[in-house]
Symmetry: C2
Subunit: 197 residues, 2 copies
């Protein structure tokens, strides 16, 4: 038996989401059918509204409701430091620390030559344009992966000649972690990043 | 930092889906933002359309686009047998076999006294009304769980006095399974349902 057409269509739509297989898609679709109509309408509107109302901040490329995002419009922030992240969600990880008071720049991806992602596919040009200003330090906060490393080294090479200091988040033992359980790469990084006590 | 309001709202909506935690909800929301606007509109419409166009079949309580579902309207089906299932999705499991040619009845749940689900919360009355017809056998295809067992026994007790034969899907070793790995309950069922060779 086929599912009734609108149900089949809804299942197909859920299946297009990342990490949602055929079984989960069915479960989600049946869940929707059991919801009150108002709730389903709210979800549909949230989808349309997010797509309609959100764009990229003209300065830092973060997701924003207005021409510039709240962070870029905040006059209390330090214009001397820019933290470079791969994705908009990384900003919320940094902001949770309540420690970093500079600005951000979102690359929207990482260099990945094997998958054909080059600098022209990332917001690199937009970053370089911002460096004409008062920026003294670029903190590169890409993940410690092959792509994150490649992107960090590429940006460092590009930006250092402009007289901007380029730093990167330290790699090392997670706080509370045990030597016994640390993988070799992490341990090697921890050794390399060691500090005087 | 908070996410921009429409983004926060979309994340909240995804979080309300079963099995979607805060991290997955964020990932789904960012995925939506990367999609072309047409795709997002299609998803929103699928949600609304499924909710608007679908209802329960007046006969078998399956999800249907019209007053009666396709199966109930199929004149080639055998009106002497009704297969009772807990959820609409169970019908597609049965139909995949291409073996059962009777009709269905969807209970929309299983008896669960601990959670306050009694016969009045299921489509039991609707089932009894159908038994006035030509029905000779009721095949109960509820899951082999406590709730599935309870529901099966309850229905059997209710329906047998009406002169309808009540059967249930066999429990036993899954085909291709190994004795070594079967749990005790399954093995006990397999012993109980044993057949002459």
């Amino acid at each position: 038996m086929q599912f009734a057409r609108p149900l089949a269509e809804l299942i197909a739509q859920f299946e297009r989401l990342p990490g949602v297989g055929p079984k989960s898609a069915q479960r989600l679709a049946f869940h929707v059918l059991r919801q009150p109509e108002d709730d389903v309408r709210r979800m549909a509107e949230a989808l349309l509204e997010a797509k309609r109302a959100l764009r990229l901040c003209a300065v830092c490329q973060n997701i924003s409701e207005s021409e510039q995002c709240e962070i870029c419009l905040d006059p209390r922030r330090d214009p001397k430091v820019i933290c470079v992240v791969a994705e908009p969600r990384d900003i919320s990880s940094m902001e949770r620390l309540n420690e970093f008071k500079g600005f951000y720049h979102v690359l929207h991806g990482l260099l990945n030559p094997l998958e054909g992602v080059g600098p022209e596919n990332l917001k690199v040009r937009e970053l370089l344009e911002r460096l004409r200003d008062t920026v003294e330090e670029l903190i590169i906060a890409t993940n410690p992966t092959v792509e994150g490393d490649t992107t960090a080294f590429y940006l460092a090479k590009l930006v250092k000649p402009l007289g901007v200091r380029v730093t990167r988040l330290a790699h090392g033992m997670p706080v509370g972690g045990e030597l016994d359980y640390a993988d070799t790469a992490t341990l090697l990084s921890a050794l390399e990043y060691r500090r005087e006590l």
